[in-house]
Amino acid sequence: MEFDLIFKNIDLFFQGTWMTLRLLFFSLLIGGTLSIPLAIARATRHRWFNRPVWMFTYFFRGTPLLVQTYLVYNGLSQFDFIRESILWTVLRDAYWCALIAFSLNTCAYTTEILRGFIETTPRGEIEAARAAGMGPWLRMRRIILPSAFRRALPAYSNEVIFMLHGSAIASVITLMDILGAGRTLNARYYLAFEGFLTSAVFYLTITFMLTAIFRQLERKLNKHLYPRIATS
């Protein structure tokens, strides 16, 4: 182990962490926002709403994120009409390519998670809302979605961590994320695993912090779902 080389290049890893966190945050933001209307559409029994969303989630959950990233980065750039269009100002940039692929991928997973929890909203809650005179949209907004969000939190925290790990794919399309920093360190000094090991430590730290955040959130938002412990 050559620790001195790791410390000498630790800046690389902090820059990489910044890149990874940016990619993670924005892909979750975009994917998460898009997933709400999609999940509602997917949960309806209406075929015209349900089917297209099902096809979208089926494609993005059925193919590896690496393939999706390659399709956006190398695939689209093969077509002259895309390179000559306004789209190219976005697709030219590896960061945007990664962001598009990651957002769509996490959107597909989040849609399915959310759909599951929308469909399993306790009947009593819906009946109560109906009895109070709420229409379908008000019911969705006030009762079903907030309830689904809370119950989906543990499953969603998994998705966030999967996305963090999936974001390592950014390094194959020239982005200097945490893994990119590790590979650059390895390449610069012809090391076998120092770079990977340091990357692993950085990913572990972020995972640790993310799980801590979600645990706090769950404790706060889902208090009413846990059995009460008698205090005496």
């Binding site: 390179r83 194959v172 020239t174 650059t184 390895n186 390449a187 610069r188 012809y190 090391l191």
Partner: protein, 257 residues
Amino acid sequence: MKKKLFGLAAAIALGAFVGAAQAEEVLRIGVEGAYPPFSEKTASGEVVGFDIDIAKALCAEMGRKCVMVEQDWDGMIPALRARKFDAIIASMSITEERKKKVDFTNKYYNTPARFVARKGADFEPTPEGLKGKVVGVQRGTIHQCYMEKHFPDVKLNLYDTQDAVNLDLVAGRIDAVLADAIALDDGFLKTERGKGFAFLGGDQIDPQCFGEGAGIAVRKGDDKLREAFNKAIAAIRANGTYKKINDKYFAFDIYGD
């Protein structure tokens, strides 16, 4: 029954042992397969090219049986050290930084590094000229070393293979590439994809980064193999085998002086 089984097991074990002993005779050579014309893959998956032909000629000269083991470039030296193969014949330049990890034979060729950009590019390959431009190189190459040393302020994109670098140059994601002049000329500029691109500036020079040419890397202390390779290189240079291989790919002698 038991005896029979035991006999069978013994036979298998013996077979495995003999197999292992024979396998040791075979020299495993690490090659890349994505660096035309030095090494590339044919449609049928076979690795061919100058490096491969040189490797075969050296093996024949040494009277040893060789197998080619494919390996991604950035894992080449780690794989050699992990004994996945015994030598690297993959256009690897002999540099000081690499000598800390592996031993090198004498060079078997030496060609300069040059930039390539779109034809009629309006910038010079200098630190000022490349300001605001993006340059692509293969990860873990002498060209990465050179860019990081002389162009620290120029945005540098790192790729797994030279093919991937060229692909992004064509796509327009990067403005220039720095690589071996021959690999760029034969592997890119003379191909269909390389139309509309040309060399930018002359040979880039820095002995510290570029070293003394491409050599064969062996594990540290593997002097017997290194010496055998050195002798074989001298022999194929002398007996015309090298020239024959050279002329198959290039119009001039790439051995250098």
